[in-house]
């Protein structure tokens, strides 16, 4: 079968599968967050936590609960990593240094999973399972909770309550993430991913040399790593490692896992606001942007500009032979489009254009389709912006889903849109301006080196976590600065989104007439996609021109 046809079939299969699954899963998730019943296990958690699961919270209480929970999570994970040597199942690993522990604790609590370390030589089983994997579940559940709170802001009216954070957190974990991750782990084990409690095993290879082979609870971690758009690999090589991602079909399963919740949440949104067409519009924009990224990356990598790639039939540097350029590009575009950050190939080695798309994917603000929850709320914020810009053009005060977009909403949206570029550009500019920092971390010179810096900050601020491998992040400065980038990049937007949810929920709905801007249908889909592209494009064009664009145009 020609490679190009295989690439198309692979994407086509994935699209069909997602199209089939997103409806039932989206409906199921809407039910999870709307239902009144509590499971027995959930009731037990509420009793222990002293939580009244039937009381809704004001947005500021919701936000405070979320921030407090995340602060405690960071502290617990920090201590666990620092004290690893004294805890069981450490496999003899030492505790982490303060800057490294800080960076990793923030990284996993913010759903980023930026890894300055190699998992197999740094983390024991307790840190992997009890620390990192736990946050893989919880940080994902936090993301979905925020999206649901915003959706409630649109769905409800005349109330100052947007739901209960603890209930949303527990339900997301217990009813959505755990069961799917459990099934997915079994599928991955069937596919050959490793799942045991072994430490490093010394073997003698056929060349007679001794080799240390690390085992562990890998498949279970792999499942939630992708499902929760976390991305932190058990191994440094991440999903390129055969124990994490053994075959071409597990590769497809993993891509499906990292896309399935982000692509299903718009359905949840449509159902909760009582208008499926609204959800369809959002998912259409996400899918279009994702497909465009996949197409361009695949084309760039398969075309493989240059002599060597030409001879190899594609840009094969940094890619696994068992996946090839197409399946690698598909993974790369999907993992950067979803703020997952797991990789099955090395974006640093991509062609200028392909690598540039992975960078741009993050700079779009992770909305195509974005991280679990974060993608939906990010896209809804962009939708509010699009409605405000274009809504005036139909001669009415802009309104989205019956809620007027006035001064307060515009302020919150403007701050949201300012946050990410400010952190990204300022962080990257500080590193680029300091020769000492450049020397310490940047491997390449010229445009590629600048791409490495931009990529590091784009990845952390947007809570993606993938890396442009040439960037040496393990310095005290970068560990601290990137940690701050992840922290603010996650929680400032979340606080703004919750405030937006509160301001929307308190409004009464305006009735819809033929004079109302329709927020479904192709015109709005095109407009929203354009707004996403132009906001990112106008903000980052100068930086991109100096980095991947100069490289791609060579």
């Amino acid at each position: 079968m020609p490679v190009a046809l295989a690439a198309v079939l692979q994407v086509g299969f994935l699209v069909l599968l997602l199209a089939a699954v997103h409806v039932p899963l989206g409906n199921y998730m809407a039910g999870v967050y709307s239902g009144k019943r509590h499971l027995r296990a959930e009731r037990a958690v509420y009793r222990i936590g002293g939580i009244d699961p039937d009381s809704d919270q004001h947005w500021s209480v919701y936000a405070r609960s979320l921030l407090a929970f995340s602060a405690v999570s960071i502290l617990v994970l920090y201590l666990l990593l620092r004290l690893q040597a004294y805890l069981p199942l450490s496999l003899g690993m030492t505790g982490l240094a303060p800057d490294g522990a800080w960076n990793t604790a923030v990284s996993f609590v913010t759903n980023t999973n930026w890894q300055w370390y190699s998992g197999e030589s740094t983390m024991g089983h307790l840190a992997q399972m009890g620390g990192l994997a736990v946050q893989n579940f919880l940080s994902a559940a936090v993301g979905i909770a925020v999206a649901i709170a915003l959706v409630r802001g649109f769905a409800r009216q005349g109330t100052d309550r947007i739901g209960n954070f603890w209930v949303d957190l527990v339900r997301g974990t217990v009813r959505i993430l755990l069961p799917i991750a459990f099934l997915a782990a079994i599928v991955l084990v069937i596919g050959g991913a490793v799942q045991n409690f072994d430490g490093a095993r010394e073997v003698t290879t056929i060349t007679g040399e001794p080799q240390s082979i690390v085992g562990g609870p890998i498949a279970s971690q792999e499942a939630i790593k992708n499902l929760g758009t976390n991305g932190g690999g058990f191994f440094n090589a991440n999903s390129a490692h055969p124990f994490e991602n053994p075959t071409a079909w597990t590769n497809l399963v993993e891509i499906f896992l990292l896309l399935v919740i982000p692509f299903s949440l718009p359905r949840t949104f449509g159902r909760m606001v009582g208008n499926h067409r609204q959800g369809t519009a959002i998912v259409s924009v996400m899918a279009t942007l994702w497909l465009a990224a996949v197409t361009i990356t695949t084309w760039a990598e398969m075309r493989g500009f240059g002599t060597v790639p030409g001879a190899a039939g594609g840009a094969m540097e940094g890619k696994e032979l068992r996946f090839g350029p197409a399946a690698s590009a598909l993974f790369g575009a999907s993992t950067t489009g979803t703020s997952t950050g797991s990789v099955n190939s090395f974006h640093d080695s991509y062609t200028g254009l392909g690598g540039g798309v992975t960078l741009l994917n993050m700079m779009l603000g992770e909305v195509a389709p974005g991280g679990v929850g974060a993608g939906l709320y990010g896209m809804l914020v962009m939708a509010v912006l699009a409605v405000f810009l274009a809504g005036l053009m139909v001669g009415r005060t802009p309104e989205y889903l019956g809620k007027k977009i006035g001064r307060k909403q515009v302020t919150l949206v403007a701050l949201y849109i300012l946050t990410m570029p400010t952190l990204l550009l300022a962080g990257a500019a500080i590193t680029a301006a300091s020769p000492a920092l450049v020397d310490a971390s940047v491997q390449e010179s010229g445009p590629h080196g600048l791409t490495e810096i931009l990529y590091a900050y784009a990845s952390t601020v947007n809570n993606n976590g993938s890396a442009f491998a040439g960037f040496g992040a393990n310095t005290p400065y970068q560990n601290t600065a990137l940690g701050l980038a992840m922290l603010f990049g996650r929680f400032v937007p979340i606080a703004l989104v919750l405030a937006l949810a509160g301001s929307l929920a308190s409004q009464r709905k305006v009735s819809e007439t033929t004079g109302t801007l329709p927020t479904h249908g192709p015109v709005f889909v095109g407009l929203l996609g354009f707004v996403v592209l132009i906001v990112a494009g106008l903000t980052f064009f100068p930086a991109l021109a100096l980095a991947p664009l100069s490289e791609a145009l060579l």
Partner: protein, 697 residues
């Protein structure tokens, strides 16, 4: 060709909700220049964040150009200042249009003496400005009314042309809904006593003056939100440009400050930032030109958001009085007999309905016009609320002939009392006229001592104004529902509603029903507009999101509403809605245009900035601009000139046709979005062709 036949009626009917274009002459630009230069004052500029950034940038490049003079540096500097001046010019031109009107109003503002009345009926002469609320003043023919007030005694004809521009005098009388008078207007006849309702300096005329001058203009909610968004876009671009320098240094080519300033000014939304204030002033001005005074800017925007229009039937939808359109005889009676009797009974009836019966008899049945003094033997029976009928008793050769006309039930009862038996066909005629929305009046007679008999029925009909149906259709396309308010019964209301083409009606409405309807619509999330003039309309006018008070109405109504229509034309509400929409559309369209422009500016400037460093970036120089300096200067010049080019659009408002939101969005996105992407590519290229002729470019 269908398109052509469709187009004709649109142009024939003065297109209802379409907004006329205000005049704009290039000469206005020149005349406003001195004022625009005065506005370079930083205290003025700081109110507009986007333009303030340009102002600071221009100052910075001036310093740089003085320090390191070059043709390039000076050219950029001059054009940056021009950008600021053009923005000021837009505002000055918009303000200038109101100035002339304000001057003529000022002339009307009275400085005359007022004759204040005391409790003991003595008069004292005080300056108009010394009057206080509650004072009573006397005004006689030839005098100017010193301040706003209500007539408490007398009736007078008033020349209000100073305020309304309408030269025909109007009647103002105590009591009722035509009691309010405006300071600065002149009494033409008679004498009235006025109770003053406005303090000096806060009269209607004062408010009008500050309104047309734009001095009282406050930013409206949407404008504030848009300003916030523009400010944050400016911040983003500031960030993008400031961080570009470290990246450029890292890449090995630091950029001159002047280039960074030029890039920044081109990227920030200067086009809409420069025109925003002019758009707001011009929107108010369009209302003023239609003789509508918006007492708050918020109301103008709210007009664009209106979902429901409440329209009083009488005066708005119908001509205001019912007219006889036919007579339906009963039994053996001929139409002529009936018409003759109807005419006789109506001779003394001075109501419009009564007169219309006489007119019908003359025009349709050729009756000789009689005057009631030509019937010396007749005794007229006036209408009373108890009898609910009127009529005439005439002495004839054969004895007394009594004719009665009135409500069906009353006249039928009279017939039975006098020994008659109304035939079934009278009842049928009454029912069918009622069902069609008309009002039936039964005519009956009794000759001598014989039994009374019903002669037939007069059909009174509300006459719906022409052209309304088309207007309501347009409103429906815009998503606005029309509700007719009437005191008529449901049957009549439904028939008139169907004839006029309104969407809904509220029959047998009392003032409190109107209020309840407004509250119900608002609770359902709809914005309501209404017109009113009476004192009992005041609560509803205040409750409605847009309340247009008629200038002829009471002071209470004018206080309660947020707009006053000087022409007192209730149908104008439709135009007000169109102006509100056009205002919002103009802002949205120019914002979209401004942002879309940036794409081309990037493609002009970025390759130019780094041409030396990365020659491959020249592939982004899609326009093939001749040199880096020329590319940058051309982008800056385009950025400045586009402001001037769009001043007419800002003042006139973008073309607006009533249609559904989908179609409107598609159309405007195409013109201002796609157009905004393409226009600067063409414009910058053309400017580059000229600039490249200069030495050094």
């Amino acid at each position: 060709m269908t398109t052509m036949t469709n187009a004709t009626p649109e142009t024939d009917h003065a297109p209802a909700a379409r907004v006329r274009a205000g005049a704009f002459r290039p000469r206005q630009l020149l005349r406003s220049l001195p004022d625009a230069l005065r506005k370079l004052d930083p205290r003025h500029q700081i109110r507009y964040p986007v333009m303030f950034v340009v102002w600071v940038g221009a100052l910075a490049t001036t310093v740089l150009a003085i320090a390191h003079p070059s043709l390039f540096a000076w050219s950029i500097t001059v054009w940056l200042w021009a950008t600021v001046v053009f923005a000021n010019l837009a505002e000055s031109v918009a303000e200038g249009r109101g100035k002339a009107q304000a001057d003529s109003l000022r002339k009307a503002r009275t400085t005359a003496m007022a004759r204040r009345l005391h409790g003991d009926d003595t008069e004292e002469s005080v300056p108009g400005t010394a009057l206080e609320v509650g004072d009573l003043v006397v005004v006689e023919a030839g005098e100017v009314i010193p301040s706003d007030g209500d007539v408490v005694d007398g009736v007078a004809s008033v020349d209000e042309s100073a305020v309304t521009g309408e030269s025909a005098p109007v009647i103002r009388e105590s009591g009722g809904d035509r009691s309010s008078v405006t300071g600065g207007t002149r009494i033409l006849s008679d004498r009235i006593v006025v109770r003053i309702t406005a303090k000096a300096g806060e009269t209607f005329l004062d408010r009008m003056i500050s309104l047309v001058e734009g001095s009282a203009r406050q930013k409206t909610p949407n404008e504030i939100a848009l300003n916030l968004l523009l400010a944050s876009l400016t911040l983003i671009f500031l960030l993008a440009v400031v961080t570009l320098q470290p990246f450029a240094v890292y890449s090995g080519q630091a950029q001159p400050l002047i280039v960074l300033v030029a890039l920044l000014v081109c990227l920030i939304p200067t086009t809409i930032g420069a025109l925003l204030s002019a758009i707001g002033i011009a929107g108010m001005d369009r209302l003023i030109q239609r003789n509508v005074m918006a007492l708050s800017g918020r109301a103008v925007e709210a007009a664009g958001d209106v979902d429901v229009l409440l329209l009083d039937k009488t005066g708005t939808i119908t001509l205001g009085n019912r007219q006889a359109v036919e007579v339906v005889p009963a039994g053996q009676v001929t139409e002529v007999e009936l018409a003759e009797a109807a005419q006789m009974s109506s001779l003394a009836d001075e109501t419009p309905e009564g007169r219309s019966v006489v007119v019908l008899a003359k025009e349709r049945y050729g009756m000789r016009l009689l005057f009631h003094d030509q019937l010396p033997t007749a005794t007229f029976v006036p209408f009373t609320a108890q009898t609910r009928m009127s009529g005439v008793d005439v002495q004839t050769h054969s004895g007394l002939r009594q004719i009665r006309k009135g409500a069906a039930s009353a006249v039928m009862a009279w017939v039975r009392e006098n020994g008659g038996h109304p035939t079934a066909d009278v009842g049928e005629a009454v029912d069918s006229i009622s069902a069609s929305g008309g009002t039936p009046l039964v005519v009956a007679e009794q000759r001598g001592d014989g039994p009374a008999r019903a002669l037939g029925v007069i059909h009174l009909k509300d006459v719906v104004k022409s052209g309304l149906r088309e207007r309501f259709d347009e409103l429906r396309r815009m998503g606005i529902r029309t509700v007719m308010i009437t005191g008529d019964n449901a049957l009549t209301a439904r028939a008139i509603a169907a004839e006029a083409g309104v969407d809904d009606y509220l029959a047998e409405a009392k003032p409190e029903d109107k209020m309840a309807l407004i509250k119900a619509e608002q609770a359902a999330g709809r914005m309501v507009a209404m017109t009113g003039d009476g004192t009992n309309d005041a609560p509803a006018l205040a409750q409605a999101d847009v309340g247009v008070a008629m200038n002829t109405g009471t002071s209470a109504a004018k206080e309660a509403g947020n707009m006053v229509d000087l022409d007192s034309n209730p149908t104008k509400l439709i135009e007000v809605v169109a102006i509100g929409k056009q205002l919002l559309i103009t802002r949205g369209a120019l914002t979209t245009f401004s942002i879309a422009n940036d794409v081309a500016k990037y493609f002009a400037i970025i390759p130019a900035m780094f041409a030396g460093l990365y020659p491959q970036l020249d592939r982004l120089n899609l326009m093939g601009l001749s040199s880096p300096e020329s590319a940058m200067l051309s982008a800056v010049i385009f950025n400045a000139l586009i402001i001037v080019a769009l001043i007419p659009v800002a003042l006139r408002g973008v073309r607006y046709r009533p249609r559904g939101a989908s179609a409107m969005l598609r159309g405007n996105l195409l013109v201002y979005g796609v157009g905004g992407l393409i226009a600067p590519f063409v414009g910058i290229k053309l400017i580059d062709l000229v600039v490249s002729l200069l030495p050094g470019f």
